[in-house]
Amino acid sequence: MSSAQDLNNSELVRRCLDGDDDAWRALMQRYKSLVYTMALRTGLDQEAAQEVFQLVWIELYRSLARIREPDALPGWLSIATRRLCYRHAMDRSRWVEGTFEEMVDPGEAPDAFVENLDLRRKLEETLDEVGEPCASLIRILFFHSPPLSYDEVARKTEMPRGTIGPLRSRCLTKLMKAMKATEVGS
């Protein structure tokens, strides 16, 4: 029997409805950082983001039997997170100027942002599978803010500058293969 974390969303949701606690935990594990990051990005402080985080999962649990597209769960979670952040901010009169209108209106869901955040989540998982030194190199090359020059990358990774190019090539190939295997962002 496959472990819950390897199952797709549809299967996890189905098992949750059968009362499978492992499936519920795996679903939370899969999207916990997505939900928490979205809550923090709306401008709530850490304590408020944690309260909203809990409410989002309670809402999902209640709604499990009605989820129409389990594969589109990131979008569903984004709508719930923004609504609950908005409600929380209104209750406590705590919101960041200019953020709350777009937080609540599903018609204005920042789809590209949610998609890219979910892509980031999937890539981070895939990089963990790919392992070192590729994971570190790709993170430094693409996820470092602000972007680094080759000299800075060489210094950070403690690699001779001349080896970075060939290694990067090999790492991207490896990543591409791993992504194909898990169908990341296809």
Binding site: C16, L17, D21, W24, R25, M28, Q29, K32, S33, L34, V35, Y36, T37, L40, A49, Q50, F53, Q54, W57, I58, E59, Y61, R62, S63, L64, A65, R66, I67, R68, W76, A80, R83, Y86, R87, M90, V104, D105, P106, G107, F113, N116, L117, L119, R120, R121, L123, E124, L141, F142, F143, H144, S145, G165, R168, S169, L172, L175, M176, M179, G185
Partner: protein, 190 residues
């Protein structure tokens, strides 16, 4: 085939699209896969890193959901329509002014008072349900929007319930009676 260099593709992806590279990309599967990967990595990089919540929060949620059950879809829904006069009332009602619905259906009577939000998106729904039989059994009231269950509460025969919830237009109020009947009232302002 001579493939353009990595540096050329980076410049290409960042918007400086030369036609020469675009032509190559059309013809070369290998490079187009690489460029697609660069684009994805850059998009994923631009959103910043994800933050994990403390694990204790997941334990907390699990302990709460352990005693809950997902809200099932209604077996059969009985739509309780707003009548023309009510709807007209809803269309001309100013924000904050309640709209009232009272119905007598076979075996059940209900009344619902809906107050649309003013500046904020907070709806106020107050209601009462009377059943001819099984009055000692709980009645579940659910506010849903698309495939989201926004809130769920229990009421009893003759008790007043109040829902104060943030929602967009298009919500649905479901009254799940003890005998598997579900009455559905839709947002009259939608």
């Amino acid at each position: 085939m001579k493939h353009p260099s990595w540096e050329q593709w980076l410049t290409f992806v960042s918007g400086d699209e030369t036609s020469e590279l675009a032509v190559h990309l059309e013809a070369c599967g290998e490079c187009s896969r690489e460029v697609e990967l660069i684009r994805r990595l850059q998009s994923a990089g631009a959103v910043g890193s994800l933050v994990s919540p403390p694990d204790a929060l997941l334990d907390e949620i699990e302990s709460q959901t352990a005693s809950m059950r997902p809200v099932a879809n209604a077996q059969t829904e009985e739509q309780v329509e707003w009548e023309l006069a009510d709807v007209r009332g809803a269309q001309t009602a100013s924000p904050g002014e309640p709209v009232f619905l009272a119905r007598s259906l076979p075996g059940v009577q209900l009344s619902v008072l809906v107050t649309a939000p003013q500046a904020e998106r907070r709806w106020r729904l107050q209601g009462q349900v009377w059943v001819d039989r099984g009055g000692d059994r709980p009645i579940r009231v659910v506010l849903a929007h698309a495939d989201h269950v926004l809130c769920e509460l229990q009421t009893r025969d003759g008790d007043q319930f109040t829902i104060d919830e943030v929602s967009d237009h298009g919500w649905k109020l479901e009254i799940h009676l003890a005998d598997d009947r579900t009455l559905v009232i839709e947002d009259p302002f939608a």
